[in-house]
Symmetry: C2
Subunit: 421 residues, 2 copies
Amino acid sequence: MTTKTGPARPAAEERDAADPLRTLRDAFVHHEPEIYFDGNSLGRLPTATAGFLEHTVREGWGAGLVRSWDTWITWNRRLGDRLAAHVLGARPGEVVLSDGTSVNLYKLAAAALDARPRRRTILADADDFPTNRYLLQGLAEQRRLRLVPLRSDPVHGLDPDELRRAVDDDTALVVLSLVSYRSGALLDMAAVNEAARRAGALVLWDLSHAAGVVPVELASTGADLAVGATYKYLNGGPGSPAFLYVRGDLQQRLRQPVWGWYGQRDQFAMRELYEPAGDVDRFLVGTPPLLSLAALEPALDVIERTTIARLRAKSMRLTAYAAELAQEWLSPYGFRLASPDDPARRGSHLALAHPDAARISRALRVRQRVVCDFRPPDRLRIGLAPLYTRFTDVHDGLDRLRTLLESRGHEDLPAETPRVT
Amino acid sequence: MTTKTGPARPAAEERDAADPLRTLRDAFVHHEPEIYFDGNSLGRLPTATAGFLEHTVREGWGAGLVRSWDTWITWNRRLGDRLAAHVLGARPGEVVLSDGTSVNLYKLAAAALDARPRRRTILADADDFPTNRYLLQGLAEQRRLRLVPLRSDPVHGLDPDELRRAVDDDTALVVLSLVSYRSGALLDMAAVNEAARRAGALVLWDLSHAAGVVPVELASTGADLAVGATYKYLNGGPGSPAFLYVRGDLQQRLRQPVWGWYGQRDQFAMRELYEPAGDVDRFLVGTPPLLSLAALEPALDVIERTTIARLRAKSMRLTAYAAELAQEWLSPYGFRLASPDDPARRGSHLALAHPDAARISRALRVRQRVVCDFRPPDRLRIGLAPLYTRFTDVHDGLDRLRTLLESRGHEDLPAETPRVT
């Protein structure tokens, strides 16, 4: 593993020393000398989480028992409002925690399609995360709609002109990820919202790879709908419940198809007929997985110690630094940057392409204790979560990768199997 | 509160001493002298759960990070197989943990309706739990089907003849709860399955109030589909993921509408087009809430220390004993049993009707430390989880209720607001 030396390291140390967010790293559990470049997949464990969960288990469940639901039942909304205010640029009552990202995408896409019954087309990024594409294939088939894939560049993402050309008065819904799960390409939310609005189409954003690292301005850009994972840069833990956002003035005009009792106007009156709640609750379904939801509380506490603007500033410096080292150290071994060159045009991870990426990813983890992930066919994803990633981590991690390539330490290992999210 | 004396208490103590399951109580956290009659709503905390969760958080998430998904991803199926074998009378590969009960009911009902495209009728218990009724109202409206409520007796539940009269060659789907959430009335699964099969309809069972306390024989009765909560008698914790069951030979013939990547044939190949998995995985959608799922592990460990047959035997003795004391002690104050008289015809909770039940429920909790719940308009539900409820708990709890009524201790308190689950 790394020697923590070399001519470039003092410069990395200087960057850390000057980093105004450096103390936030202590709010997370680390296992040095392992370096973690996968916070874009599963964020690190905050140091406060285990204690908070134990409290929730022992006091909330063990002692409070069913009575604890009197407060737990407000958590979907309460945590949603915290996310809205601090992370998503949304108004109170526009965001709620519910189900997983996929189920939320299904609910909101179905609601949007119902709201545009005479339009027959869904536009979506051809290169979007598989679950999004699959869900839309299902909805299109079930409703006999056209699902039109928008070609997007595998490195630079969707060209807004491609969307402007495609969107028209037959477009019911546009579904896009703000940050591409693979390349990290960042779209212009305001421009997309505007193009769709002119055509009378609704836009549903997947913010999974954006929330917590890039400024998201749902309200000021007039966004219609959004969903996103909370276990990536938000550090809510494995499979923590997803958020969904519906703009306030749209809520009463949209209905989602899964009519569970949490979406009912007066949940405990247990009336005979379903009548959707008058607010964002109508997009809920059933009892939330409370322990997984609880883990979001200490995670948001950490994020609220800074601002998204500051996280974004550090994130851009981190990816720029990583891109610079990759160019210098890794391109001689056949690596190329497969993310936009301009830090302002990408999120907080870099894709590095190499024909042998599947094997390198595995060797890097097993032999050099650097965890990143592999995306078929040939990408390493280097996630640089600004809450806890140091410039020296970038230096050391890429130095270990260089060492691996130099020693050909990956050539005798079997290839990586791609892993979850 | 109770004096733990009185002429009837020695008989209760004798029953406890003779109870072959009495030591299982120690596998749960208790806060005496509180008595808990709400394990049918939120099951108690197993003593092993906090430690197991802490391990999962610190080792699985904190240290293992994204690598832990290599094993976590098998838990949906692994825990499903444990439930299948020990609790549900199903075969391996027929049960999986996924989402919540409501989302699962939606998925399986939609799949069943798609499999019977020329049939236009859904039959459901008019008195079923609200979320089930609402979900079916939604599906019926979206697909322009008829939702026909089967009248069922508020105490004795559905008369099988009512179903036999109603089911015909227009019936696509029958949705029923094996144990009524309100009265506790227990249906005859084999008879219902048989009546539906003759008519060519599919049956979807909600096992939420049955799993863990009554023998469920999905395989031997030829059941088609089932869903159920795991946070009641299975003690998985607040909002723990629900299970779903699809009979093996039906799996390839059914498709559910929410096409998430966990349902994809080869999840990590990330192919362009969705193709459902060839097995029960096709009914999955997305990343499970892992911490809430993990809590099921120690909960199942406890249940596997005994058998459902033994739990059922104790449960029937508990409800019989409670009904006997209620008759003797509470009927003079206007209470009447609103559950079937025969223990063999009911699950593990009793409904006790009283015009002032909303107020009594609250006073009992606040002034006598007996937790049960209230269901509108006039029912106390007394849940008697056989894993940890003692005969002396039944004695003392109902004695405290008698004391409350005697002293009119409820009359100055505001009424109870009905609560979750």
